[in-house]
C-alpha cells in the first residue's frame, strides 16, 4: 500500500511515511449512485477531521444508457491531514464499478495507483459497450498500477440475501458495499453512515437493513484481509483546523445561506426568481426550503421572467435575486439593463458552465467574465463579484447583497459549476459577528414643497429607494433616459451625457467602499504574480506554495471584486516583473487587466471542462522564472 497511497496530490510525504493527503475517485455508471457514495464518503472524511475538497464530475444525461462511456459518473475527493484546496491532480485510488468507468478514468490515475474494480461487471456485453476487445483485468494492460479486482456484485448479493430483495434492488446496494470497503481502507467510523441510512430509508426499513448489511460486508471484507494483503489500512490524522464548529458545504448551499444572511443584514425580505438550469438550479432548491427566513421563491416561466420578477420585487421593496448559468444569463441581459437604468438593487448569480450556447452543461468554465462585464446594450455598468471556493461563496453572497442595496445597483456574482457542486469543510460562522447594513427607504418627500425626487443622488451618487405604496411619494420609473432628480422622461443630448456619466461614476466610486486588494500568498512586489479569480484559487494557491517552498519569487493575487476593481490593484500589479493569469477561458481577465492598467499580463488558459491541475500551474511558474 505504501506504493499505492503515495504522496498526496497537494502534499509531500510526512516524516513517518504516512501520506498527508490522498485522492480517491469513485467512478461508475450514472445509475450506480457514485455521487451519493462520494457524498457520504465526504461526510465521513469531514467527521474524521480531515480537510478535504471534492469534484463531482457527471454526464449531462440523467440516466445515460447503462455501461456506456458517456454515461460514466465520477466523484473525486482529496483529503488529508493538511490544508486541502483542490480536488487533487491525480487520483491515488480509482474505484471502477464497470469497464466504462475504468476506461474513462484510467488516464487520470497516478502511476502505481490502486484500481479497485468490480470484476462481476466486466462481462462480455459491458466490455463491448466500453469498447474493450479484451478484458483489461486479465490481459496485463494494467500492470503499471496495483489492481484489486473482485466480484463486488456477487459479494453484495450474498450480503443482502437475507433481506429477500429482488436482484435489481439487491445490486443497488453495491455502492454501499464499496463505501464500506473505502471506510475500512481509511479507518473510518461507520456509525454516522448507519444513522444516515436508517433515516433515509425509515419508511422502508428492509432497504435500510440491506444497505447497512452491504456497508458492513464491504468493511468486513477489508478487515478480514480477504483481499490478500494488497491493501493496508491507512489512518490520516485530522488536519489542523481552527477550533470551532464545522460542517461540509457546497458552493450552491453557501450562496443560498449567504443570500439569506445578506437579506437579514439588510433587513429585507428575500425574493428569488429562478428558472431551472444546470448547474444553477440547486440554489433555487435550497432557498425554496428556507421560507421561514423571509424567503419567497418563484419558479418563473423562463429566464427573462425570473429576472423581471426579481426586479419587480426589488421595486416593491424586497431584495430581488435571480440566478442562472451562461445561456440563461444571456436571456436576462435586457432586464439587467433596465435595473441599471432604473437603479434598483438586484443580485444575479451566474453559476458558470462550459459555453458557448448549451456548451458543456455539467462541466466547469469561467468564460462568462466578458458577459458579466460587457454583455449588455449601451453603457451599462454594474458590480461584478466572484467566489473563489464553496466556502468563499458565502461571504461573497453577503457582499453582493451589501453592494446591491447600499448602491442601488445590480450585482453579478460569478461562481461556477465546480464551486457550486464541490464540497469543503466550513467553519460555521457566528451571525452575531456580521456587520449589519440595514436599508432605509425614503418615506418623506425629499423636496419639500415640490414633487418627490426619485433620482436625487447622495454624495456617493446613490438615489433613494422608494416603495410603491408610500403615501405622497408617487413617481414613475422606466428604461427611457430621464432627467436628473425628477426622473421625468428626457432624452435630450446633454441629459443623456450627464446621466451616462452619473451611472458610471456611481459604480466606479464603489471602489472606495470595498477592501483593498490583498496578496493572498507571497509579497507585494516581486518577480512574478499569478493573478486569478474564481475557482482557480485552489490550484494557484497550491502551485504558488510549492514554488515558494522551492525558493521561487512568486506571489498569488486573487481578485474577488472584479468590477469595480480595488483601488490599489493597478499599483500592485505594476510592482511585479511578470504577471500570469490562469483562467478557464481564452484569456478574459487578462484582457481586462491589460485594458485597465496597461500591464503585460500573460494568459494561461484551459477550457477542457476540467479544473487546472496544480502541476500545470507549477510548470508555468517555473517556466516564467527559468
Amino acid at each position: 500500500m505504501a506504493t499505492v497511497l503515495d504522496a498526496g496530490a497537494e502534499q509531500g510525504r510526512s516524516t513517518d511515511n504516512t501520506p498527508e493527503a490522498v485522492v480517491v475517485r469513485f467512478a461508475g455508471d450514472s445509475g450506480d449512485g457514485m455521487q451519493l457514495t462520494g457524498g457520504q464518503f465526504t461526510l465521513s472524511t469531514a467527521l474524521a477531521g480531515n480537510d478535504l475538497s471534492t469534484f463531482p464530475d457527471f454526464p449531462s444525461e440523467i440516466r445515460a444508457p447503462q455501461g456506456t462511456l458517456f454515461g460514466v459518473s465520477a466523484f473525486q475527493i482529496n483529503f488529508g491531514s493538511t490544508e486541502i484546496t483542490t480536488a487533487g491532480d491525480q487520483p491515488d485510488v480509482l474505484v471502477a464499478m464497470n469497464p466504462a468507468a475504468l476506461k474513462v478514468n484510467l488516464s487520470a490515475l497516478k502511476q502505481g495507483g490502486l484500481i479497485i474494480a468490480d470484476s462481476g461487471e466486466f462481462t462480455k456485453r459491458n466490455l463491448e459497450k466500453a469498447k474493450y476487445t479484451v478484458n483489461p483485468l486479465e490481459d496485463g494492460s494494467l500492470a503499471q498500477w496495483n489492481l484489486l479486482a473482485f466480484d463486488i456484485s456477487k459479494l453484495t448479493l450474498e450480503a443482502v440475501k437475507p433481506f429477500g430483495l429482488g436482484n435489481k434492488e439487491a445490486l443497488r446496494c453495491k455502492n454501499m458495499w464499496t463505501l464500506g470497503l473505502a471506510l475500512w481502507m481509511f479507518d473510518r467510523d461507520r456509525a454516522p453512515l448507519i444513522d444516515w441510512l436508517t433515516n433515509k430509508f425509515k419508511k422502508n426499513p428492509v432497504l435500510a437493513d440491506a444497505n447497512i448489511a452491504a456497508l458492513n460486508a464491504g468493511h468486513a471484507y477489508g478487515e478480514t484481509a480477504e483481499i490478500g494483503g494488497q491493501v493496508k489500512q491507512q489512518h490520516l490524522p485530522p488536519a489542523p483546523q481552527s477550533p470551532g464548529l464545522y460542517r461540509t458545504i457546497t458552493g450552491a448551499e453557501a450562496v443560498s445561506l449567504g443570500l439569506v444572511a445578506g437579506a437579514k443584514l439588510a433587513e429585507l425580505p428575500l425574493f428569488f426568481g429562478g428558472y431551472p438550469i444546470t448547474p444553477a438550479s440547486a440554489i433555487l432548491h435550497y432557498l425554496a426550503k428556507m421560507k421561514e427566513f423571509g424567503v419567497t421563491t418563484f419558479q418563473a416561466e423562463d429566464e427573462i421572467a425570473a429576472i423581471a420578477s426579481a426586479i419587480g420585487a426589488s421595486y416593491a421593496g424586497s431584495l430581488g435575486v435571480t440566478s442562472s448559468s451562461g445561456p440563461g444569463i444571456a436571456l436576462k441581459t435586457e432586464a439587467m439593463g433596465l435595473a441599471v437604468m432604473a437603479e434598483l438593487p438586484l443580485v444575479i448569480v451566474n453559476s458558470q458552465r462550459g459555453g458557448p450556447s448549451t456548451g458543456l452543461p455539467t462541466k466547469t468554465e469561467q468564460s462568462d467574465l466578458y458577459q458579466a462585464l460587457y454583455g449588455r446594450n449601451g453603457d451599462t455598468p454594474l458590480v461584478v463579484l466572484s467566489a473563489s471556493s464553496p466556502t468563499d461563496a458565502f461571504e461573497v453572497a453577503i457582499e453582493a447583497v451589501r453592494l446591491a442595496t447600499q448602491f442601488m445597483t445590480p450585482v453579478i456574482l460569478l461562481t461556477d459549476g465546480y464551486i457550486g457542486n464541490a464540497a469543503e469543510p466550513w467553519a460555521v460562522p457566528d451571525p452575531a459577528t456580521f456587520e449589519p447594513f440595514p436599508v432605509t427607504f425614503l418615506t418623506q418627500n425629499n423636496n419639500e414643497g415640490g414633487k418627490v425626487l426619485p433620482y436625487k443622488r447622495d454624495e456617493r451618487g446613490v438615489r433613494p429607494w422608494i416603495k410603491p405604496g408610500t403615501p405622497g411619494l408617487m413617481h414613475r420609473i422606466g428604461g427611457i433616459e430621464k432627467a436628473p432628480e425628477t426622473g421625468d422622461l428626457d432624452y435630450s443630448p446633454a441629459v443623456h451625457q450627464m446621466q451616462t456619466d452619473a451611472r458610471k461614476d456611481k459604480i466606479d466610486g464603489i471602489a472606495k467602499f470595498i477592501p483593498a486588494q490583498e496578496v493572498s500568498q507571497g509579497t507585494a512586489g516581486g518577480k512574478l504574480a499569478i493573478v486569478g479569480w474564481g475557482s482557480t484559487y485552489g490550484p494557484i494557491h497550491q502551485a504558488v506554495r510549492r514554488a515558494r517552498a522551492k525558493g521561487l519569487d512568486v506571489s498569488h493575487i486573487h481578485i474577488r471584486h472584479i468590477w469595480p476593481m480595488p483601488a490599489n490593484l493597478g499599483d500592485l500589479l505594476h510592482s511585479y516583473g511578470k504577471i500570469i493569469v490562469p483562467e478557464m477561458n481564452t484569456g478574459q481577465l487578462k484582457t481586462v487587466l491589460r485594458d485597465q492598467y496597461l500591464v503585460d499580463a500573460k494568459p494561461m488558459n484551459k477550457v477542457s471542462g476540467q479544473p487546472f491541475t496544480i502541476a500545470e500551474i507549477e510548470a508555468a511558474i517555473e517556466a516564467a522564472l527559468a
Binding site: 469531514a46 477531521g49 493538511t82 490544508e83 485530522p238 489542523p240 483546523q241 481552527s242 477550533p243 470551532g244 464548529l245 464545522y246 460542517r247 461540509t248 445561506l257 439569506v260 425580505p269 425574493f271 426568481g273 421560507k291 421561514e292 427566513f293 419567497t296 418563484f298 418563473a300 416561466e301 423562463d302 421572467a305 423581471a308 420578477s309 426586479i311 419587480g312 420585487a313 426589488s314 421595486y315 416593491a316 421593496g317 424586497s318 432586464a335 439593463g337 433596465l338 432604473a342 460555521v428 457566528d430 451571525p431 452575531a432 416603495k467 410603491p468 405604496g469 408610500t470 408617487m474 413617481h475 414613475r476 420609473i477 422606466g478 428604461g479 422622461l489 500568498q521 494557491h541 506554495r545
Partner: protein, 347 residues
C-alpha cells in the same frame, strides 16, 4: 387595497404633470380618461396604485398617471408585475399592454400571468398594428394586412386575444373599445374581480390603422354590430330584434330573430358570466356574420397565485426557528477543540 373604504379623489389626482405624447386623435386618450374616471369612482388612492407596462404606444400609459408606475421592457410587464405583487400583494396593480407587446413578444408571460391568476387588471390595447415602430403588421392584424413588412399583405392568421386569454386559463375576460361610454363599467367589473382580469380594448390607431374598427364602433352601426353582454340578461342586439341562440345540432351560436320582444320564444341565451363554453364561443364569433361581443364575457374567480403563495409560506414559517446560527449549523457537524488543534496550517 381593493377592500379599503372609498376615498374621494378627483380626476386631477390621477393626472401626472407629464405632457401626454400620443398622436392627436389617438384612441389612447379616451382610454386614459376612462381609466382615470374609473379610479375616481373606485375610491382607491394613487399611492396604493401601480401601473406597469411593457413597450409600445400603450405602454407609455404609466407616465400619464399620478400613481406609482413602472415602464419596463418589451413584453415583460406581466413578469415584473408578478414580482411586485408577490412582494406587496396589497398594491392595486394595473397592467397596460398592446397587441404586439402582450400577444407577440410577451405572449409567454401573458399566458403564465393569466394561468397563475395574479390579482390585477390587464388592459390590452388592440389596434392590430405596431404603432411605435411605424406600422408593421401585428399578431392580431387581419389576413391580407398590407404593411412595410408585408407589402403584399399578411398571410398569417391573426389570433384572438380573448380566446388566447381563455385558453391560458383566465378567469375574467372582457372587451370594450376606446370611445365606448361603457368602458369605465367594464374596468370596474375587472377591478371587482379577484384575480387576473383580462380586458381587450379595441383602439383606433389613427396614423397606421385608421378606423380599423369603425365597422362596429361608429354610432350609425352600433346597434347592428355591437352585442353588449350583461350577466343574467338575454343576448340581444339590433334594438332587441335579434338575439344569439344555441344551434344544438352544430354546438355553435346562431342569430335568431326576436318577434315582439319575445326572446324566450326565439330561444335567445341568457348571459351567464360563469359559462366558460359559451364564453369561448362568444369571443370567436366571426365578425360580419355576427356582431362583436362586448362587455364582461367571462367572470368566475378562483384563488389568486399570490394568496396561495402567501398561505403556503405562512404555513411553512409557522413555529419555525429563524435563528441564522441554527440554519448555518444544519446537518452533520463536528467540533474542533482548542486543546488538540493548532492554528490552520499552510500558507
Amino acid at each position: 387595497m381593493n377592500d379599503m373604504t372609498a376615498i374621494k379623489t378627483t380626476i386631477k389626482d390621477w393626472e401626472s404633470d407629464q405632457e401626454v405624447r400620443w398622436c392627436p386623435g389617438c384612441g389612447d386618450y379616451a382610454i386614459l380618461k376612462a381609466v382615470q374616471r374609473t379610479l375616481v369612482d373606485l375610491g382607491t388612492t394613487p399611492d396604493q396604485t401601480v401601473f406597469v407596462s411593457g413597450i409600445g404606444c400603450s405602454s407609455r400609459f404609466p407616465y400619464y398617471m399620478a400613481s406609482y408606475g413602472f415602464h419596463t421592457i418589451h413584453g415583460r410587464a406581466p413578469a415584473f408585475a408578478t414580482g411586485i405583487k408577490l412582494a406587496n400583494p396589497d398594491l392595486d396593480l394595473w397592467l397596460v399592454t398592446g397587441d404586439g407587446d402582450g400577444m407577440s413578444i410577451g405572449g409567454n408571460h401573458t399566458m403564465h400571468f393569466l394561468r397563475r391568476n395574479i390579482n390585477s387588471q390587464i388592459l390590452l390595447f388592440n389596434n392590430e398594428i405596431y404603432g411605435l415602430t411605424k406600422g408593421q403588421y401585428s399578431p392580431t392584424s387581419r389576413l391580407g394586412t398590407p404593411s412595410p413588412t408585408t407589402p403584399l399583405g399578411s398571410v398569417d392568421r391573426p389570433l384572438q386575444p380573448c380566446s388566447f386569454a381563455l385558453g391560458a386559463g383566465a378567469r375574467f375576460v372582457a372587451r370594450g373599445f376606446d370611445t365606448s361610454k361603457n368602458l369605465p363599467e367594464v374596468f370596474k367589473a375587472a377591478h371587482a374581480h379577484q384575480g387576473a382580469a383580462f380586458v381587450e380594448i379595441f383602439q383606433n390607431c389613427i396614423v397606421y390603422n385608421k378606423d380599423r374598427f369603425a365597422d362596429f364602433t361608429e354610432k350609425a352601426v352600433a346597434d347592428k354590430w355591437q352585442l353588449w353582454l350583461k350577466n343574467g340578461e338575454p343576448l340581444l342586439f339590433n334594438k332587441g330584434t335579434q338575439g344569439i341562440a344555441l344551434d344544438t345540432q352544430r354546438l355553435a351560436l346562431k342569430i335568431v330573430d326576436v318577434v315582439d320582444g319575445d326572446w324566450q320564444a326565439a330561444g335567445v341565451l341568457v348571459h351567464d358570466v360563469t359559462n366558460r363554453s359559451v364564453a369561448h364561443m362568444l369571443v370567436e364569433l366571426p365578425f360580419g356574420e355576427f356582431p362583436v361581443a362586448l362587455g364582461v364575457i367571462y367572470d368566475d374567480p378562483r384563488p389568486t397565485y399570490e394568496t396561495s403563495v402567501l398561505e403556503q409560506d405562512a404555513v411553512a414559517r409557522q413555529g419555525k426557528n429563524t435563528d441564522l446560527a441554527k440554519l448555518f449549523a444544519k446537518g452533520q457537524t463536528w467540533t474542533v477543540d482548542a486543546e488538540d488543534q493548532g492554528p490552520l496550517s499552510g500558507v
